[in-house]
Symmetry: C2
Subunit: 461 residues, 2 copies
Amino acid sequence: MELEQEDILEQFKQLITTEDKIAIRDFLNVQNISDVAELIYAYPDDEATIIANMAIHRASKVFKILDFTTQKQIIAELPSNKTAELLNDLPADDRTDFLEELPKTVIRDLIKLLDPNERKITLSLLGYPEDSVGRLMTPDYVFIYAENTVEEVFETIRKYAKNSETIDVLYVINEYGELLDDIRIRDVILASPRKKVEELIDGRVVALNVNDDQEYASQVFKMNNRVALPVTDDNNKLLGIVTIDDMLWVANEEFSEDMQKMGGTEALDEPYLDMPILKLFRKRVGWLIVLFIGEMLTATAMGFFEDEIAKAVVLALFIPLIISSGGNSGSQASTLIIQAMAVGEITISDWWRVLRREIISGLLLGTVLGIIGFIRVAAWHAIIPTVYGDHWIMIGFTVGFSLIGVVLWGTLSGSMLPIILKRLGADPAVSSAPFVATLVDVTGLIIYFSFAYLFLQGLLL
Amino acid sequence: MELEQEDILEQFKQLITTEDKIAIRDFLNVQNISDVAELIYAYPDDEATIIANMAIHRASKVFKILDFTTQKQIIAELPSNKTAELLNDLPADDRTDFLEELPKTVIRDLIKLLDPNERKITLSLLGYPEDSVGRLMTPDYVFIYAENTVEEVFETIRKYAKNSETIDVLYVINEYGELLDDIRIRDVILASPRKKVEELIDGRVVALNVNDDQEYASQVFKMNNRVALPVTDDNNKLLGIVTIDDMLWVANEEFSEDMQKMGGTEALDEPYLDMPILKLFRKRVGWLIVLFIGEMLTATAMGFFEDEIAKAVVLALFIPLIISSGGNSGSQASTLIIQAMAVGEITISDWWRVLRREIISGLLLGTVLGIIGFIRVAAWHAIIPTVYGDHWIMIGFTVGFSLIGVVLWGTLSGSMLPIILKRLGADPAVSSAPFVATLVDVTGLIIYFSFAYLFLQGLLL
């Protein structure tokens, strides 16, 4: 497989230098769609040439699987008659998907290139909210009526299948265009030609609403064994269908956005390497400033303990260790909970179960780190007895107990924050590792100096 | 939709108290598969009863979309004749998926319940490595020969379609069982009955190798507009097919694992709430200890600067602020890069482009935070002139320049670490936010005290 790929690249390289258009066209028209896409990525200078020299129906298949930046470049380089052909041939859902990413003025110019009918479809799809099922929908499906015979169904298929995105599932509607059922092509093939559709249907149809969230749609696909689902409006009128292959992209996008938010960046709308540096900077700097201002509270908090640090400089040595342990355990907990919420394993109503589990986990984890921390102090004391002085045991206790407190606190805030955010209607993924770490840092200092008072008052303080 | 769901739950609740088996069975057999799954989640006590009281073909459809924990409980509660029926009726790929999660001894017992033929299939599927395409494969597909006529193809479909997972795509093989092409059912329906299959095929087939990684398979599905892909061995013999709906689960799993690793936990193999707390603890404590031991270096590093802190306690105040800014910018950068690598936007060979971009981004981000940091010092000085004393400008410079240095360093390590890990053959997702933060903390301290020497030597130090 890998080797063949190399071959294709090599052959094409030689062919393109000949500038023999017919040979290039013949070559491109016998390759796999995905191989042509690879060609385009390998030879970005020739991307428009490649698209322009393919049969239009194949060109649009290649175009729809390219990434957005490449698509944009191709449209910019292609002569406008080719652009018109290409856009008209693209399935309506993929066309909408592409257009909605473009600036408004460009969309307007491109829509002008469409045939009246395609233009109507596209404008209506663009009217649905972003991330809604409406944007993924295609109007190219086969519908039949309950009173049709199997023979008539085959006739309908022969007539309309060419333009429909799938014929694996057929949709049964009534005279008002309301959805009655969907029926798999296999059941039609297995039935005798005289049978009527109404004898084949069972009325068990799962439909999406045009305003449903795409993420929800992806869940419905997972739970129902269908390659396509019908989309209806609030009155059960059939508007279009969504096919399962679009769901692979939805899942990808959702997770990418979640991850970026969890890393403390706004969700990127372009691939990392294609994004202008200043735009990337803007996406990143916002959260960093917010976190930085939050983190400034640590300097204020430290100000309150300045006298204690002056009296016992040794206390300062463990500050980074203590606060980062809180941050780490917090990141861990928040990631676990965000991820479990993203796949639907945890809902808001589970908060009490989560809290109970995290109290136990936090105590266990804190105790382990606390013991290691105490051993660290004791070991250093054994090697260099002067390093922590006479009160090393109390210093060890301060460090150890602070770790238990800080890790417990980190675990609890990390696990509860995503649930609280969700409850408030915000995206749980925002409670990113950096966000939790910042929150825990200030409280970590307070916990640490409180234990220092407890164990070292009258000794060092 | 939501309301109907409530209705179903309510109706079932009343029905189950009557213990009228026939009524329960009738009720369950007219519900949607996904609604029955919801019922099972809503009434976990009755899960085995629900499965046992459905037509077996429907029961297996419900069973395959349940989560693993629920599946396990049902098998434990079901009488063994029902278990046998259920397992035999499950599609081979879903059965393998379920079995492979179980302990070896349990697998052995369950395999004994299978019919000889199903047993053979299952054992062979279980022989492929975990996360390989082989495990997702189903042997239930329709194959045809190039010399068949369209009429004969329909006959084959009528004969075998009942047991095949999809008939949307048919597979053309030769007498040696080698894969020649795949052909969509639409093309068969549109062709005249006398036409031969060899006239319909174009030889452009995309196949997966049985040892391919599941993640790779998911990429291939995205790039090729198919609902199913054939799976072949190294000699191009057709072994089975993989259907696109399995890919939705693969994508989910991959991302969940990536996220968990990025949060500094080992990948969980069970849902969060189902995992015993001690097991959860073990998954979390390992990384926390590693990070903690790494973080201990900060205490050592701080030890070197103990004299400086004693001379200028004011320096200690900014330590948490400085190191956490490095950690935050590092988490941001590493998440961006891990995510871009996960979706294939960045490969190892892009390291130099990434480095250049991150140097610029790091300098920009650092400068912004550095200026805010300086303003913070100046503002506090203006409000309470005693707080930082006469040398407040130099303290401001120390904080400001340290921030530039630390943020730049955080950004660079955060972005390069995932690439280096990948180069070394490790999983980039391991370079989690906590991991990067820990790495940056120690160097952050060194950068900070270096700038302190530069600006404050002879003044405070």
